[in-house]
Symmetry: D2
Amino acid sequence: MAPQMDALANLSPRARDLYIKMQRFVEDECIPAEKIYEEQLGEGAQRWTTQPAIMEQLKARAKELGLWNLFLARDYPEGAGLTNLEYACIGELTGRSPHLAPEATNCAAPDTGNMEVLAKYGSPAQKEKWLKPLLDGEIRSAFAMTELKVASSDALNIETTITRDGDDVIINGHKWYISGVGHPNLAVYIVMGKSITAPARTTSSGKPNRHAQHTIVLVPANAPGVKAVRAGHVFGYDDANHGHFEVIFDNVRVSAKEHLVLGEGRGFEVIQGRLGPGRVHHCVRALGMAERAMDLCILRMRDRGSTFGTPLSDHGVVRKYIADARMALDQARLLVWHAADRIDQVGGKGALKEIAMIKVVVPNTACRVVDMAIQLHGATGVSQDTVLANFYAGLRTLRIADGPDEVHTQQIGRLEMRRYAELKEKQLKGKL
Amino acid sequence: MAPQMDALANLSPRARDLYIKMQRFVEDECIPAEKIYEEQLGEGAQRWTTQPAIMEQLKARAKELGLWNLFLARDYPEGAGLTNLEYACIGELTGRSPHLAPEATNCAAPDTGNMEVLAKYGSPAQKEKWLKPLLDGEIRSAFAMTELKVASSDALNIETTITRDGDDVIINGHKWYISGVGHPNLAVYIVMGKSITAPARTTSSGKPNRHAQHTIVLVPANAPGVKAVRAGHVFGYDDANHGHFEVIFDNVRVSAKEHLVLGEGRGFEVIQGRLGPGRVHHCVRALGMAERAMDLCILRMRDRGSTFGTPLSDHGVVRKYIADARMALDQARLLVWHAADRIDQVGGKGALKEIAMIKVVVPNTACRVVDMAIQLHGATGVSQDTVLANFYAGLRTLRIADGPDEVHTQQIGRLEMRRYAELKEKQLKGKL
Amino acid sequence: MAPQMDALANLSPRARDLYIKMQRFVEDECIPAEKIYEEQLGEGAQRWTTQPAIMEQLKARAKELGLWNLFLARDYPEGAGLTNLEYACIGELTGRSPHLAPEATNCAAPDTGNMEVLAKYGSPAQKEKWLKPLLDGEIRSAFAMTELKVASSDALNIETTITRDGDDVIINGHKWYISGVGHPNLAVYIVMGKSITAPARTTSSGKPNRHAQHTIVLVPANAPGVKAVRAGHVFGYDDANHGHFEVIFDNVRVSAKEHLVLGEGRGFEVIQGRLGPGRVHHCVRALGMAERAMDLCILRMRDRGSTFGTPLSDHGVVRKYIADARMALDQARLLVWHAADRIDQVGGKGALKEIAMIKVVVPNTACRVVDMAIQLHGATGVSQDTVLANFYAGLRTLRIADGPDEVHTQQIGRLEMRRYAELKEKQLKGKL
Amino acid sequence: MAPQMDALANLSPRARDLYIKMQRFVEDECIPAEKIYEEQLGEGAQRWTTQPAIMEQLKARAKELGLWNLFLARDYPEGAGLTNLEYACIGELTGRSPHLAPEATNCAAPDTGNMEVLAKYGSPAQKEKWLKPLLDGEIRSAFAMTELKVASSDALNIETTITRDGDDVIINGHKWYISGVGHPNLAVYIVMGKSITAPARTTSSGKPNRHAQHTIVLVPANAPGVKAVRAGHVFGYDDANHGHFEVIFDNVRVSAKEHLVLGEGRGFEVIQGRLGPGRVHHCVRALGMAERAMDLCILRMRDRGSTFGTPLSDHGVVRKYIADARMALDQARLLVWHAADRIDQVGGKGALKEIAMIKVVVPNTACRVVDMAIQLHGATGVSQDTVLANFYAGLRTLRIADGPDEVHTQQIGRLEMRRYAELKEKQLKGKL
């Protein structure tokens, strides 16, 4: 069995062609470029001002190959026409070289989700100004939701304020771990805040609608008052030139008409629309990382000789580790494919539970697999001599990003409990 | 989401119709009959001599509905024409009432695997004599492989002897945990033994072929020398009228021509041909059991009120348990569907790894889910007042039956390691 | 290392002597008597009316050896003068033969906890009437708390009513899984109910004190209106002649003065006093069961030969299983010893967290170990041919009895959070 | 309960005094100095040449307080006279500030183990030259065992050669992940190599003794041919100024008499003597790290407010996480104390299994606890704003250092199997 199982079975002829091209691109061009990229990025402060030349070459190459913006599924006229399931299969390949391939193919987070927001909810002017250059790979973007001082895993806790002032809105807030802010090409933030001057809305039962207070606003990265304070590390890594920044919005003023997305109070609507495919993308990249880790294990266990009289690859415990990882990964992949297919069938809203499930399952599974790979690599596994430790750091963070495991798990439990009425009826009839 | 996910998406129109009929049959007729069955079975020794009338009624009903022998996939002319994937979806439903629905639909182990053996490898006479009444539900069968005195998880350890004597073979052996032996309708054993008088075969490299020493022989249950010594329990359950028996074959003599399957030394060939679909069947029934356990939890947590000021269904830990179970079950199901589909695509031999994986994953997952359900049910969970403790006992045994987890896990690890050459080539080219 | 680690190091010379005597008694007299006991108990209804003669012989023998009532720690004049830690060490040995040794030494639940209640809170008359014959092993007792219809893991949900009527109280309630009710010698129930006619009490802050509504009352087993409806099973076991019964108290009338323990509204006080040592006793017996399971594994793995060319005891995965079990068990044992020692040092109330911890850790650990042992025993492991499946059923139930894991875990978390003030102070001073 | 449980109960009056002093030293002086240390260390290449002034101040202070060399147990005349158990209790405190307190108190790895080697096996001249300045904290040392090109988890695979040449030995080898090599005060390596010119020894059964080929040799850090090639990272951390280096020994020549420890072929003897207490030290520091992580969780959960209407500290899942961590940590600590006490009672050799067990249990437990703490801290948990991610990296590496988990687990399993003969005898007598 190939590492990606029978991915081809899910694909239309055109998607198969893209799959094969992507596999070659990643293996033949991205992975060999990883060291060059890191060298070109260099040391110290320049890591935040350098866009390595190799990346621009890879981008040009990916465009040429037609491996560009594949993430944007067939619902979008700007997209590549793939289904979410098809992209799930192809996108996993980019995860094998996660620092290069996604950016090179313009399929990197957070731009992908941001492009979806703009494509779905942006005004024609917003599309022209931000979506077009994003789709062209000329600029990059950030998504500013998490805050330093509140438990923003409950988005209702967000304290960044968006205040109407005539035709403008004024943004004040303290964001944290905003990914992509370090990139030299960063041009725009998509900011989530609380509209304190907007009229309060009520739910259908007349109570204040706490989910109608938030607003999404586009903020140019160079707007006065936007301060990228410092880079947050991830297990010692700076993740340059991408990075995860503490950002202060200090009386940032932008015109409402041009910068609000959908309008005041519609923030939750926007971010919910953003989530489905974006989570699939994160997950498939995580699978690609874990598969590369598996491959490295198989090589290591065969190449490393024997201990205590037995080849490493024949040790019962090694085989068990490898087998457990394979079983976990294949299950996780099938769950992702299933969720992607559900999005294709019934849309992101209808696939709420499926999306929540992959958000929990895949980062956890991939973490376990890469951790196992680290263990089988010994000291080399935690070092810079393989991709493993760095992969682990990234995957571990995925269990926190976009809502921690716990939030999604509770939601899944709650959704599952909704089957009560149907089950009760069955039980009363003796069918259960 | 319905408990069985979007099973219907996998099905042809005909299979959908059968799915819906099966769902109704299990819920409307089998589950309500469970208590009646148990009452008719009674207490004490009669449990091994009684075929409850309700079972024969259910069998008649299932035949009438066309829910008969569905397990036998389209490769067999005697079969119902479903794919393995289609039966995987439909068969899960029978797992919801595991003591009634499989037998009622003639889809119960070990008959299913035994019928496959006969359909695949039986001579015309063997088919006429044994397969036909099995397909008609008139007789039942047992598969005698495990032995009391050796670690038969390595089948090479099997010590039962099959000795040629003229036109006959003589069988001597001590088998253990032979399921189905208690059934009043038991008519035939399929016995695995070692052909000690057959000519030794060699492998292609000239060594003795240790996998060519074993033979499968059909033994009529009433043959002189066949002694069903006693019933093995499963966590205190006798599993009557099915049961798991210690059986002694004491100089049992049968004619070779009529009773050997394929011929001496071909035992491994036969049992390997038996395994694929049979493992899928075990797994889908296990999923059905676990899903019923989930349903019971949802009912219990809502119906049982509050503890410490919070409804049970709102406790964070309860939600987490339910969510974890849902994630595990849906992944396991997708893995089974995937394996079933692989069997359809490339046959059981080609799907070796996929089949090994479900053999490990599904019983473990189902055990964990049912154990969780027991915990949420308190003392009631371990008692006879729900199906849970009994389900657990059966599922726990599945982790041992047909080879323990460990055997399959080692095999998966070994198969995974075979990717080495391909990976090494990539690595040497800098692609990994 | 001996299975019980260096238990002797914890013991005074007198306790060492008892330890060694107990070890011999269990190994030389109880374990060999297990089959005899089961045979004398017989089949069917007689299992609830028979006290096997061998048990009375073992009791006489234990008395003779001075191995009697050792559980009752030095705080009690009636006791054997051991510390809780000392009994923890010695009591583990009784767990190796859990159906015989505890009863034979008059150290079986629920009598132990009930004797503690009577010794601690009973009136002189109550002691004379019930405690004395219990200490003499002439009668047995039950503790009736769990109810069928409410989530009694929160004891505040208990609905059994205790109604004053002149000098009497009238008890009405529906209890469930009351252990020991099947025993022919059962003489008295200790019942927890709600005093609906007692004056309401308030907490220090003036609110109704919900923990001052419950009352403990002694109910003679032969009082009119006491109905032991049926035996609850544990998996497929009836656990005769002990058993776990559904019991209805139907207008049971007893005199208040002679039957109330401590007085109306003091039920929580009584049951809390009961818990500490009782939980240690359950835990050490569980350890003894798990150690016997370990011993059986070591024998089996060596005696069972080879699979796939390697002795079972040399398989890497087998060694890992055994090692993991050993690490878990030794940790669990140390935690129990630590908790017992804390009870000796600061009393049960002061050792609340320690007691809650062992209540969770030990049954879980023992379940995992015995489950591992079952796996290594194959079909034999789930059968009646070893003690394993039966041990598992008992240990699994311990995760539910006396409050499920979840209740204790939440309490531990809550207690741990109480360190906040102290930590905050440190943090503010830069010490954390 | 205080985080360190009732550590004081294990301590003599003098040790109690030291415990309290150490607690104050760590909390009042080390933890507040952590940021200063990091600032003084600076950025880039200077991190390997700087010994931060604050460290020397802390060392002076620790000496003054008598908190110096406490690790060296009472067996050594040079030591502080504590038992291993006593130091286990006190040493945990240093783990709360793992980059400062151990070095400040001259109790840091690998010096501690190296000092033990010298104190135990060093010649008077070796002691004078290396042990004295190490005990005085004037120089630091490294232990060079792991190699880059072989699976050195089986030490027999070590390929570094030690060749006799007249009165000298010549060392050639390629070591990897040698901790402490970056330190400006590094003066000496303790190197493990294979004596290829020494006479072969045989075991008592006459076979070549593969454990008598290795030799320990002292190599001055400034000896010609010693090349510290580069620093290995741990996840993204350089661990300066300590570090983990790739070191090449290129025809390094030293006089045999002055540099061999014990003599050729006695390497295994030496390293086995080194292991016991050193593993306890690693483990207790790991416990200290995990306890600090716990403390941070408790603060965070209370200080961080509510999500979804419930204070974080009241979420059932948060409580469960905290409780599970507490149960795991307390068990792990007791196991360490038990092992330390065994070393005190029967020596390191007699406590082989106990030491192997803590080597597996504690790093795993501490990893899980710190990982949980990261999860509860969200993005902050993986960042540089708490100690957590850095602690995790260090603890994760402990699962690999000094032999990976798997080696120790196999050893424990093997040792446990040795109880077979004793158990078999019991079984044959019906006692089991």
